[in-house]
Amino acid sequence: MALLAQYVVGGLAVGSLYALVALGIVLLYRTSRILNFAHGDLATFGTFVAFALITAARWSFGVSVVVSLVVTAVVGAAFFFLIIRPAKEATLLGKIVITLGLALFLQGATTVLWGTDTKTMPFPLSDTRVYRLGEVVVSQISLGSFAVGLILMAGMYVLVQRTRIGLAMRAVSQHTVAAQVLGIPVRQIFALTWGLASALGAAAGILLAPVTLLDPYMMLDPFLKGFAAAVLGGIDSMPGAAAGGLLLGVVEALFGAYVSVKFKTTLAFVIIIAVLAVRPEGLLGREYKRRV
């Protein structure tokens, strides 16, 4: 029983990070219908910026993180203004392919700037200091990142559902032209969404880095898992992304523990196929309708 609980706790800890990645993907998808394949690489880039500020510039952890989130947000918004918007004639699929280009560009830039060797991220919480609840062990860092993850998720929910900016985002996502006619600054809203989604990714990257170590390819797996979580929860539902991430983390941990550790990695993809076949709108998504 203690073992089961330990697996669940581990699953929740990693699941909260999947959820953060998924939130970034969903946020952008809701507003622009673009699946951003550069999300993982934007996150990696942001994480490396934080790493550089902490180690090379010797800034404090807090300041470095804030600056790196802002930098990543600016890169995301700039990508929208400089590349996606001028390519407005492109089909949706074309725009998705453009994000693949951005992914390759960022990956190359990260490799050139910081090299390919694995690095350790300085982090204020320890991953070897552990708390014991009975026989279940939780590391300080897992607990911390779980808490930060929940706070960020709640913050996103409030922003989208309870503020005027969120209202504007939802309006743009429902009908871009109508929103424009009503005086909503559509371009700014798109740019803001790109920026926010990118910053969310960077936050996930920074929380992951001390656990996964830091290299230019660190987000490869978390991005795919985040994507699977988004599909599982419903790709246009923010609460769905959060629930999907946590659920995927736990299911994966239990599958690895009691079924097969060899096929654990494959599970996320099986889930994508199963969800798309049985319930394409995901767990908490609205019924799938084509936008007209």
Partner: protein, 393 residues
């Protein structure tokens, strides 16, 4: 009509003539240059290995060229990135052979990648120097005339490491954490043989995928097995992550690992958890041998970035040293068969890094010995003398 026929005939004649000329001129050799090529994971999950090995080879060749090259020819290395993906390795090798027209293929990291290009390279009779992959795959393989290997087999290594752990460290039951591809599977096979030899027990074998980053579940599985020794066949990232995860849940068995994780970066990535781990080595580790230290010094002078991965850079040197010696012995008139003959004449030959290399008419396995080292206070200490294993090919 007749004129056209004559024209066609003439063209055919010219084509045949040029083809004959091209055949007599050795591929990849000019008056001033010898072109060699390699495909390495310069990006992707194994980039750390590829950058170190590729960078080490490039720096070593620059050092050779700065001294005037070999018999008046400089050596040019064409490096291609395969991201550790077998299909890209295949495309790279084809390009290197057919377009770059390389004289020899050197290294090529990854057992799966090597496996993917193996038939093509052998069929095209390309000189291939030390594919950086499980050497045991060559035992029983035919047509190895142009292949030379100075890299240990993971099966031999796994067996020796396990047997050492059982006999000298008192290990009774083993848990194995391995990469789920040819590299890890061959290591596991060797461990199983070692276990059979020493009548110990395999408690559990836990595989991971090369992209996996969350290893908390894997660590729990290892602990659950109750094994008193854990052996790693992993990349530096996953190797570091698993020992950290094990430390986190308070599981501290005796640790063993393949030489693939000997690079000092592990001290930094895994921290204190790396202290006390026992590994193998197939060339003298830096700090234990003046010639190796001097070579490392030379490499770092040429490319200071190699400081991040000294072991891999030296490994890169160890892969091509015997080939450079072969070229030297072959003389000014370089042909593939001439180099093969020259390399077959190496008997217990010592390079700056690799030691005791022997090839022969029927022998393509250049080295058949490793030794055991232990990490202590961020240094490696030699535990045994060279341990020999049978020559398999």
């Amino acid at each position: 009509m007749k004129l056209a026929r004559i024209g066609v005939f003439a063209t055919v004649l010219v084509l045949v003539a040029t083809a004959t000329v091209a055949q007599t001129q050795e591929r990849g050799i000019t008056d001033t240059e010898i072109v060699i090529g390699s495909s390495q994971p310069l990006s992707g999950p194994a980039a750390f290995w590829g950058q170190g090995v590729g960078g080490g080879m490039a720096a070593y060749l620059q050092w050779i060229n700065d001294q005037g090259g070999i018999n008046g020819r400089k050596i040019r290395l064409v490096l291609r990135d395969d991201s550790y993906l077998p299909p890209r390795a295949v495309a790279n090798v084809r390009e290197l052979v057919e377009r770059e027209r390389i004289f020899a293929l050197v290294s090529l990291i990854g057992s799966a990648n090597t496996f993917a290009v193996r038939d093509y390279v052998i069929e095209n009779q390309v000189l291939w120097i030390t594919p950086t992959a499980d050497a045991n795959m060559w035992a029983g393989f035919r047509n190895k005339k142009y292949l030379f290997v100075t890299y240990p087999g993971y099966v031999d290594e796994g067996r020796i490491l396990t047997s050492y752990a059982a006999k000298n460290e008192g290990a009774k039951s083993f848990a194995v954490f391995y990469q789920n591809d040819l590299y890890g599977q061959k290591g596991l096979l060797g461990i199983k043989r070692g276990i059979a030899e020493t009548k110990t027990k395999l408690a559990v074998a836990v595989p991971y995928e090369v992209t996996d980053r969350d290893l908390s579940g894997h660590a729990l599985k290892l602990r659950q097995s109750g094994a008193d020794a854990v052996i790693l066949y992993a990349t530096p990232t996953q190797g570091a992550l698993i020992v950290r995860e094990m430390a986190k849940i308070g599981y501290s068995p005796k640790l063993f690992s393949s030489f693939t994780l000997a690079d000092p970066i592990m001290f930094q990535l895994a921290g204190d958890a790396w202290n006390g781990i026992i590994l193998t080595a197939y060339y003298p580790v830096p700090g234990s041998d003046p010639k190796v230290d001097a070579m490392l010094e030379t490499l770092l002078k040429i490319n200071p970035q190699l400081r991040a991965s000294p072991f891999n850079a030296l490994a890169g040197v160890s892969f091509i040293e015997p080939f450079i010696e072969g070229l030297r012995r072959a003389g000014r008139n370089v042909t593939r068969d001439g180099v093969v003959q020259a390399m077959e004449s190496l008997r217990n030959w010592n390079g700056d890094v690799i030691r005791g290399v022997t090839f022969g008419a029927d022998r393509r396995q250049g080295i058949n010995k490793i030794y055991i080292i232990k990490s202590e206070n961020r240094q490696y200490r030699k535990l045994t003398d060279w341990i020999e294993y049978p020559v398999g090919f």
